[in-house]
């Protein structure tokens, strides 16, 4: 676990794995995985995805949760280069009540912190669908520079939507502690959801 200000980063397992079966079929997921074809994801797909990310040598999926342990969603870095130390960063609030909250934003900050302050990456890249104002504002608030627009890039609900591209260099990151101090994040005090029922164990 890596402890943050409003959220902690934890392994993506247990309750997270159970929640993902629902999360992976929801809007927030497709807005994050912009090339996903909106195919239905079964429990088996979810399991395979988690396994794939656990074996991934160029990236990882972490869970992020509130201070009282309520799972919010996932943060991901992926496609880390071997010669140029850059990676794509993604985050989603599977529990949509957290969409746009400072908890969700802190999840992104914690991912950036991990990538720069632990993994010593040089550059991070983020992408957001043009209408995804929450993501765009979060990238900008985290200090990313808007580096351009992939025009009519993604098929979305009968239309072709642009993708806004963002980049952040290690030297532009003042450090997690300074960011927290400067930004004054507020807890949204959302009630933790009930624990999901454990999947039946078949022995």
């Amino acid at each position: 676990m890596i402890e943050g200000h409003l959220v902690d980063l934890v392994p993506f397992e247990d309750d997270f794995a159970i929640h993902l079966a629902a999360w992976m079929n929801e809007e927030a997921w497709f807005r994050t995985m912009i090339y996903d074809r909106r195919e239905p994801h079964t429990e088996n797909d979810v399991k395979k995805y988690i396994e794939k990310m656990e074996k991934n040598k160029r990236g990882a999926l972490f869970g992020y949760q509130t201070k009282n342990g309520d799972p919010i969603g996932g943060v991901i870095y992926d496609y880390q280069g071997d010669r140029v130390w850059k990676a794509d960063v993604m985050s989603f609030a599977g529990d949509t009540r957290y969409e746009g909250t400072d908890e969700q934003f802190d999840g992104l900050l914690m991912l950036i912190r991990y990538c720069f302050e632990t993994r010593n990456l040089y550059r991070l890249e983020g992408a957001a669908l043009a209408f995804d104002t929450v993501k765009i504002e979060q990238f900008q608030r985290a200090g990313f520079t808007h580096e351009g627009t992939l025009r009519q890039h993604i098929r979305w609900g009968g239309d072709y939507v642009a993708v806004e591209m963002f980049g952040l260099l290690h030297r532009e990151w003042p450090g997690y502690d300074s960011m927290i101090e400067a930004l004054g994040l507020q807890s949204s005090a959302i009630e933790p959801k009930p624990k999901p029922e454990k999947l039946e164990k078949k022995d």
Binding site: Y35, R83, V84, E125, E147, L150, M165, G167, L169
Partner: protein, 192 residues
Amino acid sequence: MLKGLLVDLVPYGKAFLENDHEWENGIARFWSNLGECPIVSRAQVEARHQEWFESNESYLGVPFGVQTKDGIPLGYFGINWMVPHCRSVMVGAVINDPDYWGGGYGTDALLLLMDYAFDWLDMRKVWLGTMSLNERVMRQMEKVGFTLEVRQREAVYAAGEWHDSLLYGLLRDEWPGRAALIERFGLQARPE
């Protein structure tokens, strides 16, 4: 097989695979692989070929070999990544022997590939990436009508310095068609 004026696009078969060891150790890779200077053995190249033959990854690439009209293999032109439901293709290109650069071969091949993407695969966007050091490609993109959509700062390290990564895109309704561009550029077959 796609027939152009200076080049043809053909299967990336034996004639090309045989050259890969020399090509991959050559200078063209510095430009196509964004500053990389691979030093690879024959065995490594063969292992990569094997991986490629056996791969069942669904990235949906369409590789072509590019060769002169009299059949000299020059390199690779192809779709590296296709996203069918977005109707987009990302393309890549490399002519390995510098003696063949700047002679119009690349433009002829690119027009064939774009024609293939729009007129045969019914795509609506062609895009590609390069580095800000690669003026040859930047000029070519401008000439063919691509838009510079994204400039990723310091995303490329080449020859000891940071450079930007550039993403270019061209939409179908911006595509005048191969014939129109051949005429505009005055591309002509070489006399025998």
